[in-house]
Symmetry: C2
Subunit: 204 residues, 2 copies
């Protein structure tokens, strides 16, 4: 029985590319595509594919969120994340939300097929390149608490400890403590480098 594959990607060229890569494969049945999260979800009400290839960046909703939603509603569907860059944050969140694999858009036909076949069996596929990035950046993975994220965001907005304290109804001293913890977690020597690092790591 052929594996039913569906694809969600807002880039028409990528959809065409994958369709073309998969069209002669007997083991694959192309069930359709969507260019946004909403039409993906409405498609799933009528028909259930085995595997969804899902871009992480979409106009209406991030692939990260869509992945979670689909997995909650239809746990039997396996999801393979699809993206241009291999960024720790994206890959990790995608996998946390139930994806079974992650393929870069510069993958070859062979890699794509391998991913689909493995994932269809219920296994997990991560290309060497991706898993390397995941391992490497996992070491430098930074976990922020709810409050720290809030404070970080407000610092990035240009607010002082006093202003942030007023906004969050806490003492400026407390904000200062959070600030110090942020500096420590990011190993930043001052606000400037903190914000740069946080921005580069997609925290802001």
């Amino acid at each position: 029985m052929a594996t039913k594959v569906f694809i969600v990607d807002d880039h028409y060229m990528v959809i065409e590319g994958i369709r073309s890569l998969l069209q002669n494969k007997r083991a694959i049945e192309w069930t359709g595509h969507a260019t946004n999260a909403a039409s993906c979800l409405s498609f799933l009400q009528h028909q259930l594919p085995d595997i969804i290839l899902m871009d992480i960046s979409m106009p209406d909703k991030s692939g990260i969120d869509l992945c979670k939603e689909v997995k909650e509603k239809y746990p039997s569907i396996f999801i393979i994340g699809l993206s241009t860059f291999n960024q720790q944050s994206f890959i990790q969140k995608m996998m946390e939300n139930g994806a079974s694999g992650y393929v870069l858009k510069n993958a070859t036909q062979e890699e794509l097929m391998e991913a689909i076949e493995l994932v269809a069996k219920g296994k997990t596929y991560l290309s060497d390149e991706v898993s390397k990035v995941l391992r490497k950046q996992d070491d430098t993975h930074i976990v922020l608490t709810r409050r720290e994220k809030e404070v970080l965001g407000l610092i990035a907005e240009g607010m002082t400890n006093n202003e942030i304290g007023g906004k969050l109804f806490i003492s400026p001293s407390t904000v200062d403590t959070h600030r110090k913890n942020l500096l420590a977690k990011f190993e930043a020597k001052n606000t400037a480098s903190l914000i740069r690092i946080a921005a580069q790591m997609q925290f802001i």
Copy 2:
């Protein structure tokens, strides 16, 4: 006579997608593809296409630079930039370096054909979406001097005025002046917002 099209993109899926989109067009002759700048340049030594579809992000060299190089060596070739996002900085630099058009990867087959046809005639193609972004962000365009860029970079590294002064062999007071000018140009109220804005505008 069919328009000879060549494509440079490190994403195999995009190459396949475009090939598939163009394959039935009589007006188009597919001459080949490359997944990096180097093999693109070596291809051009043997054969000259009319149009190159060129991704802006590539492993060995940015499309921006490749565009310039190709245009200098082979002025008769028209180049269409290809990218996932429409960011002012990329589009602008691409056009400055001699590109004749800029197409987003979520473009439809029609848009792509329109772009190729127009550009083949020596005209310029920018999709509505792209030209809108170009216009809008042109207003908020910030021009930094050489020194300001240097200082901004070093501030983002976490260096103080004193340290920057030492590094650039100028007085800390001078650094402070540049800093003030940066704050004014970015309309930032402090270092934190300066760095955030600069990061979001791709200055860092």
